[in-house]
């Protein structure tokens, strides 16, 4: 894994905001007791966070119990500088400290995160404006064509081997699955997602589809194999495309699929369907009008578009740590913000479905597999990387469970297209989950 060393640094702490962490630790200082004002700081922090049921265990073994309810979780702060970093910038430092092993969690990590999110969410309603503004004190990275390449490279070119360890074995889907039944396996649910999307697009043999951001190409192969359509799939992640192309050839689907290594903004031609699964989060609000115009010109008069994206109930910035360390440039839109894409080109929205809890379950399944292969991940990268990803997965589970993230599938078409299906009945006539998968 040549990426291992090269990428390690991206997950470490290099930001100026958290540079308190890079000060050398003094062994004697690390043993000292908490000062009175430090205890006050911690209590103040927890009150701002809505007094979640979390106790602190300090470097010297001291405990600070929550002020209102009995503790359900314990945060172990391993040195006093970690405490200062957490108080100064909790949003970013929590992740950095956890990744560095200077903060640990006793209790179920997703449960703790969910409890924390719910508590902060409720408390925020009462925050003064300046504090709310401080909490949002960063802007996502730019998503111009050059930056988009770097942003995508940062996350998606970690190596196919890494993702293969814990994604589904069916089609390597790194997006929300669709669980028709709560006891579906990850493989069943990912295939059902692909089927559900094809049905929403009303695909018929011989149709043409363009896909913006194709991951490892699974949707394109599913469409070609099961619906006999011709697919053009765009992606700027070279590693993913290499895998996609080789799979397409070995499955003898390459006469139907063209994988294009290019930015979605360079899509040409007109198609019966425009689809994008899990790319809009990386597009950036400033590019929605351009995306709208792109879809307008790429879609035949009776064509249907589907965008599948993480979203919000209302406009809100991405968690600072996730945006900085995991997904540079990411921004999940509210439906209101999403509508900039539809309204700009007079598109008619046909169908919006929210699969929020399906993403929590998908992440549960990923986490289970990730933990089973954690030693291999650490061997490929290092302990810091493994801990960062563990937190990222847990935090995402928590965000979908607590309702701070949503998953929207939005179907739309040209405003004057009257070739519409009568109802959504056809989506549900047969199970979307394949038998025996």
């Amino acid at each position: 894994m040549p990426q291992g060393t090269a990428r390690k640094a991206d997950y470490s702490d290099k930001s100026t905001k958290a540079n308190i962490l890079s000060l050398p630790l003094d062994a004697m200082e690390a043993e000292r007791e908490l000062h009175g004002y430090e205890r006050w700081l911690i209590n103040k922090l927890m009150r701002t966070a809505g007094t979640p049921p979390i106790r602190f265990r300090l470097w010297n073994g001291d405990l600070i119990e929550p002020e209102q309810s009995p503790a359900r979780f314990t945060l172990h702060l391993k040195d006093h500088k970690a405490m200062y970093a957490l108080v100064a910038n909790p949003n970013l430092a929590f992740g950095d400290l956890y990744s560095a092993g200077r903060l640990d969690v006793e209790g179920d990590l997703p449960d703790l995160m969910e409890s924390l999110y719910r508590s902060v969410h409720a408390a925020r309603q009462k925050w003064p404006r300046w504090l709310d503004a401080l909490w949002r004190n960063h802007n996502p990275r730019s998503t111009g064509i050059t930056e988009a390449k770097e942003n995508i490279h940062h996350h998606y070119d970690l190596g196919n081997e890494f993702y293969r360890l814990w994604l589904d074995q069916a089609e390597m889907q790194y997006t929300c699955a669709y669980y028709e039944n709560a006891d579906n396996t990850l493989e069943q649910a990912q295939l059902a997602k692909l089927e559900h999307v094809c049905r929403k697009l009303r695909l018929k043999p011989g149709m043409t589809v363009v896909e913006a951001g194709c991951g490892w190409g699974g949707l394109a192969r599913y469409m070609a194999r099961n619906y006999g359509v011709k697919v053009h799939s765009y992606n700027i992640s070279r590693e993913q495309l290499a895998y996609a192309q080789s799979e397409s050839e070995s499955q003898k689907l390459d006469h139907l699929i063209t994988y294009v290594e290019d930015d979605y903004r360079n899509i040409t031609g007109q198609y019966d369907a425009f689809v994008s699964i899990g790319m809009l989060e990386h597009v950036g609000k400033e590019n929605y009008q351009a995306l709208s115009e792109l879809i307008k010109r790429s879609l035949k008069p009776s064509g249907i578009a589907l965008l599948h994206s993480i979203g919000r109930n209302r406009p809100m910035l991405m968690n600072a740590w996730i945006e900085k360390r995991i997904f540079p440039g990411a921004y999940p839109p509210s439906i209101g913000e999403f509508m900039a894409i539809c309204e700009h080109s007079d598109f008619s929205v046909l169908d919006v479905e929210n699969l929020r809890l399906h993403y929590a379950q998908t992440l549960d399944h990923w986490t289970e597999r990730f933990e089973a292969r954690a030693d291999e991940v650490t061997a490929m990268y290092d302990e810091h990387f493994t801990r960062a990803w563990r937190l990222y997965l847990a935090g995402s589970i928590a965000a979908f469970r607590a309702g701070s993230l949503q998953l929207f599938q939005v179907v739309f078409t040209h405003g004057d297209n009257n070739q519409l299906p009568q109802t959504r009945q056809e989506l549900y006539t047969f199970p979307a989950t394949p038998e025996g998968a």
Copy 2:
């Protein structure tokens, strides 16, 4: 019908903008030929409207053919003052002139309107800003509690006898029906709509529902009868409520249904479901935040809300004539505008469905029945009234067909509610259309 005389004036021309129409006609003038500059004015008007395939037949028999395509429809202008009124304010005068019988249409009225809407819609993309602004040169009437009463009285208190002539015989539904199959009758489709709504609300026996704006109370009776739920239904139209109450008693459903003659803003209590079918159009954008807070406090923690409303692909004012003469205070929101309701209270949108073409078909069915009873309508009111309603129905058919109006059903719940159905499968397990209806 005591309303007949009282309400006639509302549909006549009294506005200052169109007061050119109230000038007395001079018999000699009415026979004269078109001046050169008048021909230029008509051609200019039609070019601004995107040169639709419409010819003018003038008061003296002269024809003005469209400039680009052969005519498919003929507009008969019966006097030259009508021409000036049309040129000066086409948006409002078209309806007033048609209602007064001073403008007539040869050819299918809904087809003409659809052709006109599509043509104007396409032309508008190229209009200068000032012209676009002029087109939108009115604001909807206020929808404060007092004005809302007047607005609703204007339209809904025309008399139950009038609506009974042409609405469905099943539940007197004056909102979009749901045609599972294109050949469903109006009665089948209206009952299917009620069923579809109940399924989206996931009703179970013993639950409680609050309804904002209940028309003649059909949904409340359907819910009580078929789902065994307790319903509180609010309406400010006294005539409608009298009918609703008497039906509820004669069907022995009054132990489950409470009809309340009050503004929806005075709803109290907490319910398992909040539903509003075809009222949001009358709420007014300035009241969306208050509506949001009302739903927030009226909905139990796991409650589901459904709003069913006429809407737009993007923000746009109601047609001036409809807003002035038919629906004072009406404003159909885009989804983006609708989201003000959801985002303000951190609601999570679960499902949006667009039933645009279902409303066109509903209006087709209403028109068919309306025309079969047109003589009775004229006897109840007068010819002016009948013509105004004929145009309103035809214009609405055209607007839904041309895509300038949409019909949205939006389902949402509290942002932290995790008691969600696994999928939308249950909406489609059995047909929503009752057998034998």
